[in-house]
Symmetry: C2
Subunit: 690 residues, 2 copies
């Protein structure tokens, strides 16, 4: 800052030119002719470079801009640097260089300067997430590329090729404590000679144990460096191929988890393992096969070589976590639900049978507890309750709900056995969220007539052209979010009572209330032809959802008790369920505690986002490892209050913020006659007319 | 030492009892009832223990002995400790405990004590080598076993099994910074439950990068920990299975290098790789197959499981080194002879395709230069020229001679292209050292009659019963040491001149001098029946040996020049050649420079010994890595003086210490008549009669 104080007057003297970098504000004086990149490095200015100042990578682009000096009346700075060089012209011809851009490695200081480093030239670019209030992550992956020029062998000073590569990484990039593997060694000599003693090295800075790992090499200059962030769900596996130089997602792909053939839900897969010798190997092999398939698919989609993938970050619930790691999940199937490993793991991806670059590393986020997995850890990394001043509730709803509650002061986690009802399983007409599934539903409280939307169709069922629009997929069932809305609307319409009982008295008002073995069903859809199934909600369906939501709420309630609060300040619902569900209905049914509705949001694929954060920023790995140790783990199975909360949460609450908004006074209209149901006298509900 | 000064008077007071350990002399005062093992640990006394004081391993045995106190008139110390416990009695019943021995973990201090720690109870036992003047290595391998008791999972404090294992290693053994691999994780939960929360852990303390690696686990107490030291020679591969707890060699086995089918000598194998696409993979696969075969053989021989092998240390010349690592050796086939890697390597043995314990680590010693391999580094570790005050010459003779010269002041290394003549190749009747090969030979200077010994037979050829004794093997050829002796004896007898020319004039004195195409041969053996080949030394054979010995000497001479000396103070010849050769004859021929014959010794299998040292003592790995960096590498190909030395060294020297001892005045006896050659007039030399 002493130099900065001398700043302007310096221009008038014989002193060295002053250079100021924006946006960092870093400044200093350098001898005439100093390359701008050199000056930037000496000042610690964040300018990217893979080729180390050889005008190959084009990462170090700058603008010679107007800035502080302009304020002092200097309008032309062009003469304060050398003219665009032949090297830059060549770069422009090959890769393109905007007219206002220079390569900082080729730009020499010839007078006082203001240099702007655009975001894309910064090493630690901010990887901004789309959502408004979420975290901003700086790009700083564990693997970097380094272009080096290696000394040729000299019989007068015998040394091995590897030693000279290490020497170049030290002298040209200041990287030490290197080790490597046999795969790199096997290709080293050919790469050096093919690249005429110029190679690009991928260095991984976080191997287990420490040091730096020379993970891969390419002859000459190589600019492709990618990582995979994979969220291994019980139902679907989602992979995001991410450019580790830009932070951009290059391709995404999803796949059904092929383990489904061994059991729809987690516990049936654990049972499969328990009942079949070697079953865990089949399940591991299935999931690893799918991971390789996904990797190939995204590489193809992005037009890169699979060997350009140097890292993979994996998350998943504890059972998936164990299975992709090759660990028998049997212990997770019963008390005391002991995880084999809850710590983060770093290991060569090939040890997991993944066919990426031979030197690629896998990082697996830590699990939190027996039923709170690495996916929940990833959600924590994504939603960052540990950075929140307010109390935040984060929930990932699956067969088990993984729940994290707290703030930067204190964090608690538990899981709650919601079962698969929220995913449409164990519901009479339930199905997975797929085209043909009812996902939205409204009931007219006066007529008890439903209107609904189906996945894959933009029209509501009472809009013109709906039946034609769904002709292909049919209306095949009702998915998780549809069930929630249906039951909440039934409650709002008075069809079910607060304790979840279907009111048979309504049968006289509408033939949609159907009597069935001493209980009642609510008929949503009954096609006139046999084009599809009758879709209805049964009393058992209501009970299943009540059980699930009671479990979820009881887990949350337990953590709120521990924290001594009655409601969180904000809520994030993660996963597919969280993305599809209408928060109002979730709150009407009491899935989640009372909260200002505006502060209840979907966290999207928080697990996938967390995986991507750990992929893009190596410090995030330390962060989540530290955080997970700090989270207090609550096992609901040993908490006496959990059962009580569960029982109490069976009923549908009558006062929630959402309820207040939506609950209308249902004035009983006069009973309708059977005739209104349809001209054919079949008793079917009438179809809406377009 | 203040406590020691108080020592004796302390007995008279109320102070805590004094305990003195021998042979270390460490002493201190401890509360009554303190276990002796606890006292030993607090004082830093070197007592072994795997089970951590649970009377399982029996490693911590001590003698409650007479010692310092006895000198003060105390004769009975028995009452100063508790009586043998039931636990010790049980140990005695199961594994045996000598009557004068106690388990220090069970022995409690009940008064002043002298405790003797016998060598076998010391952790850092000295692993003494057989040879008189060689190094004493303390046992301190990179892998140790630790028996731990692990907390059971507790739903009130959820934590993963691995975390509790790490916690036990920290609290019970003070081991931190642990990482592990997927193999250990896959077996962890079953092992813990099978062992009822007691397991034995193998921890490897030198993974690449740092930290400690949990390499393997066994349920309950496990006492078998082995390592393999393997010397991969071009011709033979030798493996020594070593008990890492006792330092003892449990089994040894050798195998012909199966790469021989791709070429007898190194350069023909390199040529094979150059001429055949994928040839390096065939060679790598062949050698790795042999390594696995050897591992299985030694494990079977020692009666252990292959999974008890947790470490493997490998050495070999640069071509073997590259091939077992899976590196194409082509670059070693021509100038500038660049090694892919000259640094030491540590990696999971499975990465090399070795089927030992899944978590076993491989350590490969560093190479010194393009033709001075990890075997030469191992020789340096074994012979320790860097610890010598005197100038030491260490030579490993193979297709290339690997030469190290110097002392603790300065060390130089080079290789010299001796070719395969010393191994019996390129010699008309040459063969590898195997039963039937002539290995010793004397020539009567008066009669020019030879007498010789054959491998596999204890008799000399002129002793009774020789022909019967060799009837099975036959006399099939002459091996390296035999050729050296034959040519040296021919020189001593005057048959060849100092410049290596066979003197045709001798043909008149003995039919053993045979004329052949303008040169002469010396017939060693010509069977009367056709029971075997005629064995002779040709002029070309003499020339081949002259070339080889000149190359060897020129390399040594070059290093002596650099060091400014004319002779080393001592010489070690390593390898099979060094073991079999008679040093006198080597010196007569001028293979090695003049030196006091008493100070010229075989180093035995120095490469194998060096590998074993690196296996048994982890600090030796640091030592050799540091040493190799310090050794000055001389490339003979670029040294102008090398060629001159080579030419000059072709002649047989006429004044060496050995020559002085052996050279007898050869008085020419009167010419013999043809009749003396044999009764059948065939011209065959007469057979010696038993």
């Amino acid at each position: 800052m002493r130099q900065a104080a001398l700043g302007y007057t310096g221009m008038m003297t014989e002193q060295n030119p002053l250079i100021v970098f924006t946006p960092s504000g870093k400044r200093g004086r350098f001898a005439m002719g100093t390359p701008v990149l050199t000056a930037a490095r000496q000042l610690g200015v964040d300018i990217d470079s893979v080729c180390g100042g050889r005008a190959i990578c084009g990462r170090c682009q700058i603008n010679i801009g107007e800035g502080e000096f302009a304020k002092h009346g200097i309008t032309s700075l062009a003469s304060h640097v050398n003219a665009r060089t032949e090297t830059e012209a060549r770069y422009d011809r090959i890769k393109g260089l905007a007219s206002d851009r220079r390569l900082s490695c080729q730009t020499r200081i010839e007078g006082d300067l203001v240099v702007d480093v655009p975001p894309e030239s910064q090493v630690h670019k901010q990887v901004v997430r789309k959502e408004a209030d979420t975290r901003v992550i700086a790009l700083d992956p564990a693997t970097h590329l380094y272009y080096i020029e290696v000394e040729e062998p000299d019989m007068h000073k015998p040394s091995s090729d590897l030693e000279r590569v290490y020497g170049a990484l030290k002298s040209q990039w200041d990287i030490e404590n290197l080790s490597t593997d046999l795969g790199v060694l096997a290709g080293l000599q050919k790469a050096l000679r093919k690249g005429e003693w110029k190679i690009t090295c991928a260095v991984f800075s976080r191997p287990a144990g420490g040091g730096n790992r020379l993970a891969a090499i390419w002859p000459g200059y190589h600019d492709n460096l990618f990582g995979l962030a994979i969220d291994v769900g019980s139902t679907t596996i989602a992979a995001h191929l991410t450019n580790l130089s830009s932070g951009e997602v290059a391709a995404s792909a999803g796949l059904m988890n092929p383990q489904i053939r061994f059991g729809e839900d987690l516990m049936s897969r654990v049972s499969y393992v328990m009942m079949n010798a070697g079953g865990e190997k089949e399940l591991t092999s299935a999931i690893r096969g799918a991971l390789n398939e996904l990797a190939k698919a995204v590489a193809k989609q992005a037009g890169i070589e699979i060997t350009d993938i140097l890292e993979v970050v994996l998350v998943g619930n504890p059972v998936m976590h164990h299975l992709f790691l090759g660990i028998d999940p049997t212990e997770l199937g019963g008390a005391p639900f002991a995880l084999a490993d809850g710590l983060a793991l770093t290991f060569p991806a090939r040890d997991m049978g993944l066919h990426l670059n031979h030197g690629a590393f896998a990082y697996v986020l830590p699990c939190i507890a027996g039923h709170v997995g690495a996916d929940a850890a990833a959600m924590a990394l994504s939603e960052a309750p540990h950075e929140s001043d307010e109390i935040m509730l984060c929930v990932d709803v699956g067969t088990n709900a993984e729940i994290i509650l707290g703030s930067k002061q204190r964090l608690l986690a538990c899981s709650s056995p919601t079962g698969p009802a929220f995913e449409g399983a164990q519901i009479s007409c339930g199905q997975r969220a797929a085209p043909g599934a009812i996902e939205r539903l409204r009931i007219d409280p006066a007529t008890l007539e439903p209107r609904y939307k189906v996945i894959g169709c933009d029209l509501w069922s009472d809009e013109a052209g709906f039946e034609q629009a769904v002709a292909d997929t049919g209306v095949t069932g009702i998915c998780g979010s549809g069930i929630i809305e249906a039951i909440a609307e039934m409650y709002l319409a008075g069809i079910i009572s607060q304790d979840g009982l279907m009111d048979g008295g309504f049968a006289v008002r509408s033939p949609r209330i159907e009597s069935y073995k001493r209980t009642f069903n609510y008929i949503i859809r009954q096609p006139t032809d046999n084009s599809g199934p009758i879709i209805r909600i049964t009393q058992n369906d209501v009970r299943a959802i009540q059980m699930a939501k009671a479990a979820l709420y009881a887990g949350v309630r337990l953590l709120m008790d521990k924290l001594g609060i009655d409601a969180p300040d904000k809520i994030r619902l993660a996963g597919a369920f969280g993305s599809h569900i209408d928060m109002k209905y979730a709150m009407i049914l009491g899935l989640i505690p009372d909260c200002d509705l505006a502060r209840v949001q979907s966290a999207g694929n928080a697990a996938g986002t967390g995986a991507r954060i750990a992929l893009l920023n190596k410090a995030a790995r330390d962060e989540i490892e530290k955080l997970v140790r700090r989270i207090e783990k609550i096992e609901t199975a040993v908490e006496p209050m959990f059962q009580q909360h569960l029982v109490e949460a069976m009923a549908i609450p009558h006062k929630t913020a959402a309820f207040t908004e939506l609950k209308k006074v249902v004035t009983l209209p006069p009973p309708k006659t059977v005739e209104t149901l349809g001209a054919d006298g079949s008793g079917r509900p009438p179809r809406r007319r377009g």
